[in-house]
Each structure stands twice: as C-alpha cells, then as structure tokens.
Symmetry: D2
Subunit: 283 residues, 4 copies
C-alpha cells in the first residue's frame, strides 16, 4: 500500500470534489490546516466542490457551519448535498399534498416546495393520512423514536408512497469511542421490518456526482479524467467516484484508518486510485 502526498496529486486535475465529514472535519471540529488546502487550490486556479451526504441542513446552513469554524472558502454555491437531490425529487415528482418527515423542523424547512406541506410523522393521523404523498427521512433527532418509528411503519403499510432517505450511512462518529445511529441506519431498520427498499440519494449513487459535474461543465470545458474525488469512506466516496469514472483519493483521517485500509480495500474490492494520509496541505 503506497501512501502519496496529497499535494503531489493535484497538478493533474482541474477540479477536486471533497467529502466533508472525515475529510475536512471530524466530531472534534475542523482538521487543523485544512484551510491551507483551499488557499492552495485557489492560488493554483483549481476549482473544488464539497459533495456531502447530508440532508439535515440547507447548503446555506452547511456553509455557515464552516464559517463559524473559521473556514471561509466553503460557500453555499460550492456545496452539493444529498438534501439538494431530495429537494429536486420533491419538486419534480411529488404532486401536491403532504410530505411527512422524520427529522428536525429545520431539516424539513429547506425542502418546502410550491404546493407541498411538510409535516412531521407525529402530526399524521387519520384526518390527513390520505393526503400524504411521500415520506422523507432527514435527521436522527427531532422526533420520539418509539412513537414515530412505530407510526412510520404503519404509515408505509397504509399508504403506497415513495420513502426517500438522503443518507447512506448507518452510523456517524460522536466521540473518539462512540457512534450514533444515523438517519440512514434508522432507514435500514424500517426497510428490514417492511421488507422493502427505500429510495436513497447520496454517494455512492451517481446523481450527486452528475449534479456537480453539470455545474462544472456550465463553467468550463472539463472531462471526467480531470476531476479527483477525495473521501474517507470506501463504500460511498470511493465507490461512487470510481463508478462515475473519476480518479479517487482515499484519506485516512476518518472512517478508514491506516491499519485497516489495506484489509478493507481487499475485502470490498473497492480500490482508490490514490491513498493519502490527509487532504491537508502544509504551506
């Protein structure tokens, strides 16, 4: 397993796609020095996007969260989130009525579409269940698990509607030792109980890469060979980037540690083009 310097990879590419969690930040805050990477890219005239499986907040709120940590290079227009794909889906495919959700009120806010009423699952009852046209799973907080997961199972048994989950992770790191069940994990639970599969937006699915690639092509002439996807997770970032035809770089600052990288690559058959210790560039 050959470890390369992240900086040494860059000359080949016109644009870099970054995953967020495990690459730019951890449960602890920003990766020290990560702002240098963006300064360097700007100095070199290279473009970048953050491609993130996050449906809990709008791009504006996500950008704000970086600004509060002192990373000002990440603006809302640089963020492609699975929440944005979810919003596009609701716009195109849900024809009025209610979209029920599991998550915080805030996570539902930015999904509001013309003629659509967003209601938490807890607010669905016999009087309005007939108007529910979709269910979206957005965040693991903001609802009572016992009551609302039971309600969700019954809602999906009674109404033949699409269920969308904008997150493919089962857990996320909470501290150095503990994880929390992510809304993607909650979705997996309900799928296994109902024996059906939900619609999932987010890496490794190609749709987010396509969204970013489309935005790029409106600005410049670029081929897939000139884009590098950088991520910490084999089965989302690296698999998704590979499948879309991009070069990929695995960084060891998140879900994949230096001592299990080789084993994981071997057992999954998901092979990154490059492996780097971190996406931080020492200036």
């Amino acid at each position: 397993m050959q470890i390369e310097s992240f900086k040494s990879l860059l000359p080949k590419y016109k644009c870099i796609f970054f995953d967020a969690f495990g690459v730019l930040k951890t449960y602890n805050g920003l990766l020290p020095g990560i702002e240098n990477t963006f300064d360097y890219l700007k100095a070199q005239g290279q473009d970048y996007y953050i491609v993130t499986n996050d449906a809990s907040r709008s791009p504006e709120q996500l950008a704000d969260s970086y600004h509060k940590l002192g990373l000002f290079s990440i603006t809302a227009d640089k963020i492609i989130s699975s929440g944005m794909i979810t919003k596009e889906y609701i716009d195109l495919k849900v024809d009025g009525g209610i979209v029920a959700y599991l998550g915080t009120a805030n996570s539902a806010n930015y999904l509001v579409s013309d003629g659509i009423k967003m209601l938490p699952v807890s607010a669905i009852d016999d009087s309005n269940i007939g108007e529910v046209n979709a269910l979206v799973l957005l965040d693991d907080e903001g609802f009572n698990w016992f009551h609302d997961l039971n309600k969700t199972v019954n809602l999906l048994r009674k109404r033949t509607i699409p269920a969308i989950v904008a997150n493919t992770d089962n857990t996320y790191p909470l501290t150095k030792t503990d994880v929390a069940i992510a809304i993607g994990g909650v979705a997996t639970m309900i799928e296994s109980i109902l024996g059906r599969r939900f619609i999932r937006f987010g890496k490794p699915d190609s749709q987010m890469f396509m969204f970013a690639y489309d935005m790029l092509r409106q600005k410049m002439e670029i081929s897939k060979r000139e884009i590098l996807m950088v991520g910490d997770t084999l089965h989302t970032d690296i698999l998704g980037g590979n499948k879309f035809g991009l070069d990929t770089a695995l960084v060891l600052t998140g879900n994949t540690r230096i001592d299990d990288a080789e084993t994981k690559i071997k057992s999954t058959g998901i092979v990154p083009t490059h492996i780097c210790e971190s996406a931080v560039i020492e200036l």
Copy 2:
C-alpha cells in the same frame, strides 16, 4: 387449497403443539370457543403444549394471563417459551457478571440466574461495562428507544459478547389495522447497523420443539409422527414444525389470511401438512 376441519385431524396424534398469538388469542382477546378445544383434547386423552415465541414474561405470568381471560386449561407446565430457552442459555453459558437487557424490569426478572446481575442497558456506563458478559433483547417496551438503542450499538462495539433475542417476529398486531415493532424487529435493526447476526431463540429454530419433545418423552412413548404443530405463521410455526419432522396445521385466524394463504405458501415454499380455518372446535 383444501381447507380441513381441525377436529377431523386430531385422531392421528397423541399430542398437539399450539402457537399462542393468532391461534388461541388475538389483540382482541381469546378466540371465542377456544376453551372447547382444550376440553375436547382432555376428554380424548390427548396431550398439548403451547410453544410460543415470547420472552416478555415467565411461564407463570403467561399462564396467569390466560386464566384472567377465562382459559384455565393452560397452566405454566404446559407452556414452552423462547424465554425459557434464553434462561437455559444464561444458566449454561454466562459465567457471572452482568447481563444487560432491553425490555421491562418484569421481563428480566425471571431470567435471573445464580451469580448473574440483570441490568437494563440504561444502567450500563464506563464503571460497569467491563463486567457485561451478554446482552438480551426481551421486550419492545420499558426503555427509551433513542438513548438505549444508541447505547446498545456502542455496547456491542466495545464488548465482544453474545447478543440474544428471544423473538423472531419483526412486528405484532396492535389493532385491526396497526402493528407495533416487536423486539425481534428492534434486533433486526441493530443487526443491520452492526453487520452481524444475533443468537435467536424461538421458532423456527428446533430448540423449542426439542424442549417440548423431551418433556413429552419423559411422560410417554411417542414418535415425531404422533405430534401436530398448529400455527398461524408460515416462517415460524410451520417452517419450524416441518423442519423438526412434525406434521403441521396452518390456521387462518392470525398472520395468514384465507385470501393470501396460497400465494404465501407458493412464494415461500413452506407447505403445511393441513390448512384449517381455526383451531376452535365446536362442541
């Protein structure tokens, strides 16, 4: 699909094994007339056992619940529950320390074994996590789902211990239209998040049938051909009975309805020896 009268099947067998939920009772209470069935069996000198996937109560408490409904033929010694197999497992395989549980305090009570401390998952912390030697999932009530499911995931990541679930159903009927997620469903959730399989006791596993068969053989000379398993669920009662080598009768008073019985049998390949409308005998 030929429907037979339950009474007409009985002469062939020395002992009848009954599933409980969906066969003797529903969310509504006892099946009207089910007491006749037991009176009839006693009159004919035929033996019976209740073989039930229930780990939420002791056999004594289960028997009590039938007595309160007016069915006095079901005594504790006639009940084989998956909870009893769980208790045997703890007795034989857990060598002291703490057994953590998800469920009510009552469900944990009857599992207490010499030298074992039963503690709810909520009571596990850094001070005692090192002493936890097993986890049992007993009941879907009695704990805070959000906090304790997250705690359970982390407990199983930190401690290499067996996790036992004494229930194979994902849901159970709550009313005519609604279901509730069973502790078996909660277990499925956690398994899918951790990517590992728990130890499951309960039908279709052979161990409960073996337990009942052992008790029978201590009382009489009997072969598997002389036992009939009666149940409402193909993938637990009927599959389990078939696999153990018993004749099986599917009744249509619970999970399998008359209009989907044929489709379900065809799609699963689980074929009961007999199909009956109900286990109730008209006297």
Copy 3:
C-alpha cells in the same frame, strides 16, 4: 388502479425512453404493432431512446436484431445500453493489462479499449493472473459454469480488482413458462459467496438515464419534466425513472401482469406515474 391509453399520455412529452425487453419485444419476437408507435412519434416530431440493461452485444448489433425483426426505426444511435456504460468505465478507469470476462467472445468484442486485452476467465492462469485489472460479467452463455464460476471466485479472492456487472436482472423469460438465469443472477451468486457487492451498471442506476439525457440536451432544450420513461419492470425501469425525476409509465406486456400490478406496486412502494396495457399505438 387506473389504466390509461398510451397514446393519450404522449402530448405532454418531448422525448420517450423505452425499455426493450417486455416493452418492444418478448421471447416470442416483436410486440405486434409496435412499429406504429415509432411511426407515430416521428410523425409528431417526438424523440425517443431505447434504454436497455443489455451488455451482451454492441448497440450496432442490438439495432441489427431489431432490423431483422422488421423494426427499422431503432438505429444504433437511438440505443443506450448498460454495455456502453461498462465500456466508458473500462476506458476511464482500467489502466492497461487484462480485463477478464464471463460471456461470449462477441459480448467482449465491443468493450475492447486501447491497451486493454480482453480474455475469458477460462484463459486466466498463474502466468497472467497478475495482469488482470478488472472482471466484467457480460452474458450467461459462452463459458463452462462449473469450471469458470469456480475460477472466478478464486480470481476475486486473489486479485483486489473491481468486478463489473452490466445487468441487474436475476432471470429472463425463455418461454411462456420457463426462465433462464441471467448474468445478473450469476453475479448475485458470486457476490453472496464472496460476501461483497459488485459494481452494477444499468437501471435503476441513474447513469444510463444521465447518458441519454446528456445526448438529448446536446440536440435540444429539454427538462426532465418533458421525458417519459416506459418500462415493464418496477424495480429497474420505474424505480430508475422515478429516482432520476422522470414521469414513468408501467406497461403490462412483460414482467408485470395486470393481475399482480397492484400487489407489486403496494409491496414495493414503487409507484409509476401512469399504467398502460401496452406501448403499442393502434393507427
């Protein structure tokens, strides 16, 4: 369940995407009258593409097969196949060496890329296994199942390489009563033995829709709302179309029959925008 006339749906759309098998043809040959549909579309000035999970032949060969049956409207440039996505993947992501394949020599022919040697799995041995950089599963014929599936399992245990399967179906209809195991089913087999997931191209994945949509946008100004996806299979055609944001029409001439359509829609939660008996237009 409301059945609509296919013709009545068309005015709303600028372009129609058709699945091939079960929509335009069956094991029996072309659907009688299907050529009318294409004549009608041309007369109305509406565009169309065939979007098919087929990696066994090149677009040219696929087009030829329609011409031989008397359907001349389907030319190679109108066909988007999962084989084309596979070819793009090999071009972009495989850097020389050998690509091993399961399938006929013909199926491998059109995937040849500069600097890549295509070899059947049967031709891989100790002398060249080190040069194998990818495995593709193309067709269920053209190899010895016993020898070559065993060889494939060992190849993937020894080499950490991507495995690509350009087909998501487990079986395909052979006659009115019989099916054949598709190469997608063969892939599922090997995945379950190795405990890992292959890269799958083909519906419901978005990449093929994106490919067609890109070609369309180079010719005209068009939004996703102006495209209709027509298919006979819920979990590929309809799910894929829905997920990409297109309107979808389920036709009942293939995998989904009129008497099980409602049950399947209900149990999967995959809901087509429209349901039609067939894509044939009576002139």
Copy 4:
C-alpha cells in the same frame, strides 16, 4: 487472546464433539498425530462423536474414508452428519413420489426411503415434474451446472415443494490457495435468485447437536455442561455449540487462522469458551 493446550481442557468433559474438516483433516489429508487424540480419549474413558456438515456420503462411506487414511477410531456409529438429518426429514415428511437432487448418484443413494424415488434434476421433465415432492442439494459435483441450475430454478418456480440443503458452507478449501464453491454456496445462489430461503440442516442448527446428545443420553447420564464442541469455524461449529449450551473450543488448523481469530471473534460476536492451536495431542 489466550491459547490453551487442548489436552488441558479435556478432564472437565465426559464427551467431545469434533467437527471433521479443518479439525481432523484438511485438503492435504489427516492432521499428523490426530490418531493420538482418539487413543488418548479412549484411554481416559471419554466418549466422542464426529459432528459434520456433510451430505455427500453415508456415515459408512465417511468412516471408510478415515480408515483409508489410517484413522481407525472413527467408525460409522461415531458419525453424525447433516445427511442423516436430511434422511430423517425425507422419512418423516415426504409422502411418496420423487425426490429430485443435485449431486452425485452416490450422494443420493443412502437417502433412499420406502416409497421414494430419488432422481437427479436432469431426469425431471414434463412427464414426471408433477410427482416431485422435494428437492435436496447434496454435492457440488455430479451434474451439469448450466443446464441443471437453470432446471432447478424452473422446477422450484413450478412446484411448491420444500428445498433442503444439508450444508451451510459456501466454499471449501481445495488447495493451499484455492477454494471450490460448495453445494451450500450453490444453494445460496438459487435462494438469492428465487428470493426464498431453503431448509438448511447442519451446524449451527441445533438439530445435529440434539441428535448426538440423544444418542449419548441413551448410553449414559450426561448434562450439556459435560460436553465440549471442537471446531475450526466460528459461524457453524462455535455458534452452534454455544447456542445449544455446550462449551466450545476453536482450533486454528482450518478456516480460522491465528492471525485473524481475534478480529473474526470481535466482528461476529461469536466467542468460543477456549482457543487451541490444534486438537492433536502429543503423546
């Protein structure tokens, strides 16, 4: 991870259950010195059984194969195989007609039961398909994979019959570097294509342990605490032994190697009571 001497464990137990492959023998032949272990047990007056997931031969033929290798302590009456449980199932549950099989003629031979005709899948056609009452999967050799696996899929689509597989392994070691797909793996393939689960006999299922335990109890007074299960595979031998309530010893001469034992135990949560290098006793 503490490694104990196998000999030091023995005093506690009245009977030892041994897995065969990976414990007594490998693809290379007998483990050198394994005959000492049986001499020692006999000298100490301790009983033993071989509990093996093997349905390809009768206990007599299995015993013969040990005698040919020079191990005469293993006689037919000491062998409990998953094939024997399969035979009991056919005797009790198949009421005449044809049992179709995948495997060698020899593997089918010893399953013959009164009034049952054993026929290879290749011999099933329209003239006799209506008489087929069960399918058994016995061995990965003795049939044409392409033709007979396709035939099997169609047989199970047309006939609502039980399918039994007497082997839970997906692969078995062929040489130091290569594996072969086992009939258990072939079964997994067909299950995933049909979307249904077969009846599986063999460890970790309790039925084989029960069979051996029953035989023991006819000879002596013995409790589960006085039996040790010895095996090389966590998810069959160790899980099965644990679940049945036995003490278990993992040996490192087969599927589990010394350098991955700890990782596998941690990731599966299947914990043996003891870990030993080998079941060989130096005299």
